[in-house]
């Protein structure tokens, strides 16, 4: 077996906020009827999380369940656990109109942290950050690529995008946190 590699292993940038490639992260896309009790039980089983409401992310330790659209969730869990969890979800959802896809290695994840992290993100996303709730996940675009972002803790942002654009995404974030380019003191 070859060693799994994240998109940009160990890449970091420090400015008025810190950017770090977040390493290997397990992710499962789950599509189906989010009102189904069978699906809710399967999500609970895989992540320990309750079904998130619209645009919410429910986090429990190193796992999370995020609402991506009216019929789609993103399940977040340790990278090594994702294949097994996907298989278990398939079994739990037998007979349901649902789709499970393990997408861990199709994605890249970044952590942007610091008191002023939101100022870097505000340059790149067409998002009203003042209106964003602490437990909200927002799918949008980061400059020219699709990305989703949420807070693991207040001021501790996570961003996911396609792995194929990881270098572009890191370049954007690196540039956005350059010292002296703060939006406000």
């Amino acid at each position: 077996m070859s060693e799994p590699q994240s998109a940009l292993p160990g890449r970091r940038a420090a400015g008025f906020a810190t950017v770090a490639e977040a390493g290997l992260q397990g992710m499962i896309t789950l599509r189906g009827d989010l009102a189904s009790p069978v699906l809710a039980a399967a999500v609970q089983q895989a992540t320990g999380c309750a079904m998130p409401g619209p645009r919410r992310i429910v986090q429990a330790g190193d796992r999370a369940a995020a609402w991506m659209s009216p019929d789609e969730l993103l399940l977040i869990l340790p990278h090594a656990d994702a294949p097994g969890a996907a298989t278990a979800l398939q079994a739990a959802l037998a007979g349901e109109h649902a789709l499970v896809a393990e997408v861990s290695d199709a994605r890249a994840m970044f952590a942007v942290t610091g008191d002023k992290a939101v100022q870097a993100l505000a340059k790149l996303f067409p998002v009203d950050f003042a209106a964003m709730e602490p437990d909200e996940i927002r799918r949008s675009r980061m400059a020219q690529v699709a990305a989703a972002l949420w807070q693991a803790a207040p001021g501790d942002w996570r961003i996911v995008c396609f792995r194929s654009v990881a270098a572009y995404a890191f370049g954007l974030l690196d540039n956005a946190v350059r010292p002296g380019s703060e939006l406000t003191a």
Binding site: P54, M68, S69, P126, R139, R141
Partner: protein
């Protein structure tokens, strides 16, 4: 800058997060219809100066299609509703008629069985 609220996820999205899908509520014509009907379906669009119903996709967000009723002159947005809707909601039509009495909404004048429900 056009700002629309996606009826599927509730995000108030500015237009660069959305993809325009052209005029909404087109009636499809295909095999068995006349050449003139098919040509009109394929190519003829209202392109009004004023109230317009158009399809949008929340492309960078939830990915779903919806329909927006807006004014092409002032960019006033009258409302948005899911694309799985055969005709504009009655309350939205009433609101538009009140605001723009001269707008041509004749496509929606006839009451339908759905309206009676």
């Amino acid at each position: 800058m056009l700002i629309l609220t996606c009826p599927h996820c509730g995000v108030t999205a500015e237009e660069t997060e959305l993809a325009l899908g052209g005029e909404a509520h087109l009636k499809r014509y295909g095999p068995g219809d006349s050449d003139e009907q098919f040509e009109a379906y394929m190519f003829a669009r209202k392109n009004p100066k004023g109230v317009h119903f158009e399809r949008w996709r929340h492309a960078y967000g939830c990915g779903k299609w919806f329909i927006a009723a807006r004014c092409t002159v002032t960019l006033e947005v009258f409302g948005t509703y899911p694309a799985q809707t055969a005709r504009p909601p009655a309350d939205l039509l009433a609101a538009i008629r009140a605001k723009r009495p001269s707008a041509d909404l004749s496509d929606w004048d006839a009451a339908t069985p759905e309206d009676a429900q």
